[in-house]
Symmetry: C4
């Protein structure tokens, strides 16, 4: 697909994500099956609650990540700038949308260069893993990291998105050894993420064995690419297929549990349908180390850095309320709380 | 927050509770999971059914309590008067809304002085437990009890309400020893209550070990403070947070079961979402000793003592119907009935 | 209550049952949890399917009963006539509404004298069991049977109906020995029925031990007296109580199973919410011997005997279809079929 | 019923199936209880995925079948032509609607002669099994096969349809030995199908023992004949009966599982409510060998062969997407995948 075409598609994606219902049908993250058990006597001072954490060898003010969204257009430049400024202000990590455009000499490649707005927080560059079957390798990956001054690289897995969207790059054969090669060569740690259909423990284990440093599950329950394509596509075949698959994907909650069961020590980023700090609190309770937000930040990102900052503040506030509500004062205590009921089973009452 | 501000807020609370939907979203008391097994041959005379019980060393005509609501304004004075007259007429206990205003020399402090309307039934004064971290202690508590001629004092726990409402008094650290001190010093027994998010058995045990005489669970499923604040607040941060927490809290049914499992002998007041005498019957069957009604009485309380009396009569009548329906003739038999199905498990069929 | 009052009430009941929604709220018979497992190769000739059965020492053309509804007014006379003629034509049993009015010399007592319209089928007279505490005994019962030329007497248990309706005759104490006395004295067998709240196995066993020959469960899921009273009553206390109890009662399915578990040999009449021949088939599969229909026949009964006959034919046709669908050719085979799934458990697959 | 009458009825069926809601009430195939577990790293090339399979000794391009629908009228001739041309183009098998009309010398018997449009793919002729009790036998069956140049014969079982529709041919007694006779005599293999109420394993086993070569379950969850008759019939008795049975039938998913549990080696055709290639993928995962589509193709079949071809392409595309989504590259791998969750139980996580 020509560069022009990709940019048009990406702009349409943003527009549709801003205005339409792009959630899967009868699909949720599964986090509604988790509820905290209120602690009427919290025995903490709300003002002492701490959200600090470490990620990619840096200290963050909160366990939060701006998930990969965009780059490669004028609108994208604006969005990325706003996200980066706010991320720096609030001490969040930030991931870029697919940075492949840089390698292809895109005229809007500046849109990816956000280090000037976010001098201290972790930045994560991004490349479609499938591109390793289409001419890209460790050298190009390193180039992306260098140009964006990133602390890490995301390889994203997006098989279903590719097929529903344009039958573009559909050869996912033998990717694993190539991912391994990139992990070996790169000067920064490599994370792997999905784009909304989820990564389970079996796949995560293979990826970790290949050298992947952390997993971003990006599960189902949030932005659904089959839904986006149903709204965008004009090809009846694809429109109908998108409709048929509106329920596809592993719910984010199931991804987290499955990955944690398989890989106890590897950092897990929970993303896909995260909307509030309460969602974040639940995900942390079942094993997530970091929480990624994509669409939840999109509207504000088209407005201003201040607007993004306000949404971020909101999310942090809600996470703190949840922690206050069960009486824990830092993330470690939150991870280990028994004041939680998972699918009707209370950890407190046993 | 200035006195004027508190009064304004309290009046808004009443107004919102009277006119809007203030129940949590997808949240219920859990009592709908309990159903009685009709006894076609009750073998009792309806007219012999007795509701009498003992509470705070007095005999009540029914196991019912007017839950803490208000005080400290003109409207509150009227409400409290109506509630008190009706409570006396029907032999219910009555609790006051937070009486802290008395200590601060509020001009409407007369609104709390209801002993003249309710000379014989138990009156319970009320203070926010968190105030023990903000300058109040056993002496002030005793003063409240003395001024209101109360038979007992409620310390209410309202962490989530405080945070969603105004980030006022948020230091809940080390409250337990202070509660213990109050229990030790006070001339009357101290009860602890929540305000709608519920107390579980673990917390109840700690409180009881500290000297608390009885527990009012005030669980989720009735008036929801996150909902009230969502409607009241003008601050978008708080409004959104209130929305995110519209599902928070331990359902009243779960509170009762959990507290009873942990504290077999301690009196439990079931409140939070109690609407009918049938709700009361269910709560008693799973362990409650007293049933508290707040919002269910509010509308009538703004009208007249007669209106309150009629709602109370209604509730008593319904409790008797339930007892007749299963063929028991006093509260002891009700507590021990096996004509009940709890979450699909029949105690009768085993 | 004066005779005039009773008649007025009964006429209102009929009118409300004809025009309004009188089913309980979120209440069903439970039969929807039973489904037959279609037999694609039934290996029977539809025209050979037999519905014949024995009841009260007579042969019926189908295992069906016109449940107790009415008597004692002009409208009732018409209804009873139509029901009786159709029952005779189709070989159904027929029960009368409460026949107490006869004893009190009601001017419409002719309305109960249906033997002339139904010379051969079983007729069941009817008296409120609670009347045994209010001056009636075996002699009066025998008189009812004699006057109506009945084959049996129903004693109906209606505690909840009485209390919600008028607090009339509410002394249900020590009824059992009096029921025993009636059973002993009467020249015909005595059955006991509820009126829509259900009889469970424990109560059924007591009744059987007292000499009751068969049990009509009349469970919840059909006509709900709390609903009828909610619509009829003008007294706000009763209206609200009726509302609170709109979910009360043991679902018909649970009654049948419970009674059969306790009394293997005693005939069980399933009534309460029976609408179609498919409902009947399900009830038979779980143990019912006879199926009673009240409100399902009411509309037609106000029209003509032909209209009633058509509804009866409809029900028989549906029962036969169900039997054809699973490939059984008589009621004995239906009772023993394993082509049924009960609450998700298939008897066929084990 | 006269020939004219049958044709009229069949045309009405088509019209109703095209325009009205003809699905059962609260009835589904059960396939919604199956979900695939997305494989984020599929390790296959989408373009290598193969759908080829063998059926009736021929190679098909996809495991798909045009289910029996029609014949015997002008409209039917057009429909069958379009279906046949498209089936040939895409390499699907195709079954005819009941071909009994041929034997009765129907004037539209040409409508069944589709071999000229579909020279290479398997064609299946069709006869109501119950006709074996009404004068037809192996000779007539052979004649149908010969005239239609079919590779196989379907005997369809349609007891419930017959009874709800017209009480026509309702003697299903002793059909089994006659089916056995047909299987023995015929020069081609015999399959048995239902018409939407489903075949379970017990029945399938009997049929297989009698010589039936394959089973088409045609379960509930798709076109419901009780629904069709409810809309079509003018006889109130039948209309009401159809309504009462709107929930009858074994869901397609349950049929497949039950038949496979009983007959491990016998080919199973899954039909009844199959709408997408994703449905097909699910059915294959639980044991189906072929997937049949009736109503899903009907609208297109009234338009043109190209329209049918497009729907078929759609279905194939969706099946491939599902296979890509879990990372399998042929039907054998699909059948054996553990990337599936059945009724909440994950085969992957155990
Ligand atoms: C507008 C938009 C653009 C996106 N672009 C990318 C991308 O270029 N690369 C990528 O890995 N993920 C991309 N994603 C996926 C997100 O990173 C995330 O995995 C997914 O949206 C689920 O999270 P959410 O429910 O919070 O939106 C995009 C998401 C959105 C909403
Ligand atoms: C208008 C209103 C004011 C209240 N004020 C107080 C209060 O001052 N102190 C307190 O402990 N609880 C207060 N409550 C909480 C109630 O005592 C009770 O715990 C809660 O409302 C749940 O019960 P309900 O569902 O019956 O309303 C108030 C409740 C209402 C509706
Ligand atoms: C209009 C009407 C009047 C009834 N009157 C009597 C009665 O006099 N005696 C009695 O035992 N049951 C009476 N019943 C109760 C029925 O016999 C039956 O137990 C109950 O209605 C449940 O059955 P259904 O759901 O088929 O209506 C009456 C029911 C109706 C609808
Ligand atoms: C319009 C129409 C006509 C049908 N005619 C026949 C028929 O003649 N013989 C037969 O065996 N099945 C017939 N069927 C049943 C189908 O073959 C199939 O078993 C059933 O419709 C369920 O599949 P579906 O949900 O995909 O429609 C017909 C179905 C339809 C929709």
């Amino acid at each position: 697909m020509a560069e022009e075409g990709i940019n048009k598609r990406k702009t349409e994606h943003i527009r549709i994500c801003l205005t339409d219902n792009v959630e899967g049908v009868n699909k949720s993250t599964g986090l509604e099956g988790i509820s905290f058990i209120h602690n009427a006597l919290p025995e903490v001072n709300f003002h002492d609650i701490k959200l600090e954490t470490r990620f990619l060898d840096k200290t963050l003010q909160a366990p939060f990540l701006v998930s990969s969204m965009t780059g490669g257009s004028e609108m994208a430049a604006e969005i990325n700038r706003n996200l980066a400024i706010a991320a720096e202000e609030r001490g969040w990590a930030i991931a870029l949308g697919s940075t492949r455009a840089i390698l292809e000499g895109d005229k809007h490649q500046d849109s990816f260069l956000i280090r000037k707005y976010a001098p201290t927080v972790p930045i994560i560059a991004n490349l479609g893993a499938v591109q390793l079957n289409y001419g890209y390798g460790a050298d190009e990956a390193q180039k992306l990291v260098d140009l964006t001054e990133a602390d890490s690289l995301y390889l994203h897995l997006n098989s279903l998105q590719e097929i529903i969207q344009d039958e573009g790059d559909l050869n996912f054969e033998d990717l694993l050894p190539k991912i391994e090669e990139v992990c070996k060569q790169l000067t920064v740690p490599v994370g792997v993420k999905e784009v909304g259909f989820g990564i389970d423990g079996t796949v995560a284990r293979k990826l970790h064995d290949a050298g992947v440093a952390y997993i971003d599950v990006s599960g189902a329950g949030g932005t659904s690419w089959s839904q986006v394509e149903k709204l965008r596509s004009k090809d009846p075949l694809r429109k109908a297929a998108a409709e048929a698959f509106n329920n596809w994907g592993i719910p984010t909650k199931d991804c987290i549990v499955s990955v944690k069961n398989n890989l106890h020590q590897v950092p897990v980023v929970a993303s896909g349908g995260m909307k509030t700090g309460l969602d974040a609190a639940k995900a942390i309770t079942i094993g997530a180390d970091m929480i990624g937000f994509a669409r939840t930040l999109l509207q504000a990102a088209t407005e201003s850095a201040e607007a993004v900052n306000r949404v971020m503040e909101q999310i942090e506030f809600e996470l703190k309320i949840a922690m206050f509500g069960i009486g824990v004062k830092d993330l470690k205590e939150l991870k280990n709380t028994n004041r939680v009921e998972i699918m009707g089973k209370s950890l407190l009452e046993g």
